[in-house]
């Protein structure tokens, strides 16, 4: 394992997050290292989105600490968090696109507004076009989010998440509410982003298929398709699975361990053949 792979990218230590009397996350601890893929399963209301927002510093834990790239962000003021967030790409559940801005303005938003990036204005358009080409939506520059379908909005969301080439990308239920074909397109883009740019990836979802593709498939640049990771010759993906239940981490392990689990709740997220 190289030093780069050793580097801790995201670390939760006994993190609890509550809203009034409801505890959304309870004593959550885990660590992710560079280049890893982490798939977090959980039913609705299990704390998946809260976990991602806590990792971004959008929510502050009531107890415990969160470290991103080795920096403890638990007590950082908002202005200092911008520096950390500039290294994290995020796709929100419904895309989180600004509906008053065009697609070009949406995707270019982090380039122009992240204080630590300060991208020269003349470089914004080419980078936006490149990011939109990545998700095959380069023809939508002048459109508004309301003019796009749900799947296209997610793809624009992915373009906005990766336009700054962040080393860590978080995906919040990227396929929720999409038909199977569109869901596959989204997952294929996530795998492609991970393998082309070697990003550390966290995806929360309730769909087994999403985790299956991320764990067992790699992007093959020669065919521009996903191939089973064993067949592609690139080796196994460094994928870990976690399962959340009512804010608690009830499972953490490999795909084989997930499939071998006898826990009825954990088994819900495994497709039994």
């Amino acid at each position: 394992m190289t030093d780069e792979q050793e580097q801790s990218v995201l670390r939760f230590d006994d993190v609890s997050v509550g809203f009034g009397d409801v505890e959304a996350l309870r004593d959550l601890s885990f660590e992710m290292r560079a280049g890893e893929t982490c798939i977090i399963f959980g039913a609705a209301g299990s704390g998946k989105t809260v976990l991602l927002k806590t990792a971004l510093g959008l929510l502050r834990p009531d107890a415990g600490s969160v470290s991103v790239f080795g920096c403890d962000i638990t007590g950082l003021p908002e202005q200092e968090l911008f520096q950390i967030r500039s290294q994290i790409g995020v796709l929100f559940q419904e895309g989180g696109l600004f509906d008053s801005l065009t697609i070009e303005e949406n995707v270019g938003y982090p380039l122009l507004n992240q204080p630590s990036l300060r991208c020269p204005p003349e470089q914004v358009r080419p980078r936006v076009e490149e990011a939109l080409r990545f998700v095959e939506l380069e023809h939508t520059l002048e459109k508004f989010p309301s003019e796009l379908s749900g799947g296209m909005r997610r793809r624009v969301g992915i373009a906005r998440a990766v336009v700054t080439d962040p080393p860590l990308v978080l995906y919040d239920s990227p396929t929720a509410g999409l038909d199977p074909i569109t869901a596959y397109t989204i997952i294929a883009l996530i795998v492609k982003e991970r393998d082309v740019k070697n990003t550390t990836t966290v995806m929360v979802t309730h769909r087994y298929q999403d985790g299956h593709f991320l764990a067992n498939f790699r992007y093959d640049p020669r065919t521009d398709r996903l191939e089973p990771s064993a067949a592609s010759g690139a080796g196994e993906t460094r994928t870990r699975f976690m399962v959340l239940r009512e804010g608690r981490l009830v499972f953490e392990g490999t795909r084989a361990e997930l499939e071998a689990s006898n826990d009825p709740y954990v088994s819900k997220f495994v497709r039994r053949e």
Binding site: I88, V90, E94, G96, F98, Y109, N113, Q114, S116
Partner: protein, 251 residues
Amino acid sequence: MFDFFKSPVLAVQEFYFLAGRAIRNVFRRPHYASDVFLQMDIIGVGSLPIVATTGFFSGAVLAMQMAKALRQYGAVGQTGQLVAITLVRELGPVLTSLVVAGRIASGIASELGSMKVTEQIDAMRALGTDPIQKLVTPRLIATCVVLPLLTIIADFVGIFGGFLVALFMLNLTGAQYWNNAWQALEYLDITFGLAKPFAFAFIVALIGCYFGLATTGGTQGVGRATTQAVVASMLLIFVLNLFITRIYVSL
């Protein structure tokens, strides 16, 4: 035992926190000048027709009512004075602010509320922008600038409405009405007549933003936030008006 008070006390604390950050951001970079001008257009130019209409009819009705009362004392000629004083001191600032509150506080709350429930506020923070700096401060600056200007317009249109009534229904001459109205006004009236909408602007903008950013619970929550913003801003305008008027009468 005191759990009942927790929620309102927390709300007040959150509101002051928001207000403090919004005002502090006026003096901090980055400044979103284009957003300020956009909001001035939406709030100021957009509210002009309704503010002018309200002012005109208020002034006209005021002139009729005052003339009826003054006729008992044979002082119909003083109509211009009463219309001007009432409009500039009270009705102009309060009615304009109420109309703008109904139009703008609701608009701000629903816009920000929709952004909140569709995770656009979170996205903004995740992408390096302080939502208070980007959304709240420009609306606050814009409202503080345009509400006094709208009040001036409402005052003038109201006095003009009174003039038409005086001219066509009370048989007063234009010179009589305007001289009477002009001489009745003192600098203190105008100062307080403009200080009031400036103070009310804080209520309209910040209450709208507060309820918008505090929205929870999807589209139903947006509707609730909108209603709460209008009701709260209107009530607070009446309460604050009492305190400002108390200061005025003691001078």
